[in-house]
Amino acid sequence: MSILGIVFSYSERENLRELTRLRTIASLPMAGKYRIIDFLISNFVNDGIYDIAVIARDNYHSLMDHLGAGMEWDLIRKRGGLRVLTPYAKSESGRDGLYRGSVEALSNNMHSFRRSMGDLVIMAEASILYSIDFNHLAKTHLNSNADITAVYTKQLNGHPTVPMGVAVMHFNENNRLYDLNINKDDMSAQDVCWSIGVFVIKKSLLMSLVADAMAFGKYDFLEDIIKRLSNRLDIQGYEYKGHLLEVSSVAGYMKANMNFLNANFRNRAFHRPIYTKSKDSVPARYCKGCCVKNSIISDGCRIEGTVINSVISRNVFIGKDSIVKNSVIMQNTEIMQGVSLDNVILDKDVIVRENRQLSGHETYPVVVEKASII
């Protein structure tokens, strides 16, 4: 049974403010040197799945720059490999080309899925980080004879509530899905099953469901296929119990990064290799007089100042007498002397001039847009 991975590189429910103004959620930096999508694609590759289609919608240039031809993920393959699927500018509907929903996104790329040798599809979205055994999932799906297997979790990952906008799924005693609703409240109930966006389905069934839905003008996979057809289709649940990060708000993004400062979390997240684009940077350089505590530092950095409880991406310079605390600093950022940052997210290519001070709060970090000069 050969598997095709389909990845949605965008999220319809995210609210990441300036962070996704110029990029899609999948290419958001994470844990220093990675982009969010690296975790998912590495998960596929580590499970031997080398046939991956990434659906792009808009703002995908940074994603394409990052993935390139797929070299670093070993995805330049004669059979399968990585394809980033961009929407046609001229859509048949004559609209501006933004998909009306996930069903239309799938429909517009059917030509590519059809050519894949995979006959089982694992759909996933890039906005949630996890590490799942896709082979076990696929085997479970095949053994259950279900039409669709939907992966859910009961984890809240320290959040008080189920994340806004995710699908809450209801299963009967046979583990069959009978209802689904989108979380719009601060639902805090324990034992709520919420979807991590992963579904397993035969390619042929997916193709016919998508074609049917399109014919009826139904464009949302969750609402119009999973929920609407739950009485006709046998949709089985599969619980994911591992570690998890949900990134759909700025505070969540900050928290996700901070999770990597925890050794246990790090060990679980990196127990298999996570691949990312190589930058050929030099190792990090710690100068005399620097002070670094409980932080992640990436290659190419040069640290002359102080870094505490922070996640620093590649090629960042932190000058003398500067203090960076509780912050996420993206690549190619230059922090000059005497700067003080606390609870700040600096996007890439930012320059912070001498003696500037910025400080936000854990629940509302200051976000500095890409290429700003402060």
């Binding site: 030099v282 620097c290 002070c291 670094v292 990436s298 870094v307």
Partner: protein, 408 residues
Amino acid sequence: MICGQKKEMIAMLLAGGQGSRLGILTQDVAKPAVPFGGKYRIIDFPLSNCTNSGIDTIGVLTQYRPLELNAHIGSGQPWDLDRLYGGVFILPPYMGGKGGEWYSGTANAIYQNMNFIDLYNPQYVLILSGDHVYKMNYDLMLDFHKHKNADCTIAVIKVPWEEASRFGVMNADEDSRIFEFEEKPQEPKSNLASMGVYIFRWKKLKEYLIKDEEDENSDNDFGKNLIPQMLKACEKLYAYEFKGYWKDVGTIASLWEANMDILDPNVPIELDDPPWRIYSRSSNMPPQYIGENAVLSNSSIADGCNVEGKVENSILFPGVTVGKDAVVSNSILMPGVSVSEDALIEYAIVAENARICKSARVGEWKKPEIGKQHREITVIGGSVTIGERAVVPAGTTIDESIIEEVGE
């Protein structure tokens, strides 16, 4: 074989040496595969120089434990050397119709691979060796070679007069034409030392390789035989002076020094040089984590490291862990080394995957400190374990695990 146009110049990299002066560091790997500078291997320097100089076809001549070197070079992709026509090729000795022959000398290694060179039908051949650390634009040297209409151009570097007798020294006239070559002269007439980097007109080189091979008394070595033969025949040999950082890393002391040079802002070997990047194979490790109690100073630390202790004037390769209260100073910790709590490492080179257990002391120095240059370097071999509270005195070389506590 894909046909393509001829290449103007291809490079042949002599990576065959065992590098026995590096002792246990080259027990399992060829010298060019020895780790250097926090994430590189020595061979990354000539390979990256080639890429940055626009040379896309390189034969790597190797016969000594090539497994790591093979795995490191792979398809050549990290150096952008995975080419359809050309690229990087490992060239081991092989059997011909009459049985096999190991490479008997540097010139013989090239002689045995003349077929390979002819495949690309180059005008010029660049000969490199795999045991020097330097950043050099070979394209500028080729310009010089063409300008002089030379048969052979030898890159030279000024060395202190007192060290000149350790090198092959070129005596050249004011036009840079070489009239004499002395191998390790007692009384050097010049301080221009050969860097082991040659450009030859390929036709001329081929002619001399064949001649040299016919000479039964020859050691088939470039410096000892081929260059003197060419000088004797009045061929046009020129010296091209290179001004920059260049270091032979063929001994433990020079390997340690060259690594320390990276940490010294006054030494002109800047690795963070985007227009002249040194490429290497990525380790695919997570970013480094620096713990709550870490103390860092003047050090270079690579991906995958986990530092809880004190690190100063040191270079940590990927995947090194340094436990709480451990102290690493003036040392080089190669990939995968683990240093447990409270251990001490001073003036040492610790090879890949060695384990320094709790409270062990490596490179301990009993004599009064006289000065950095007199401190002897301690070497811990690959995958060696230094047991709890074991003491390894300064200047020793350990190639077997020490489990028991060792006194003096």
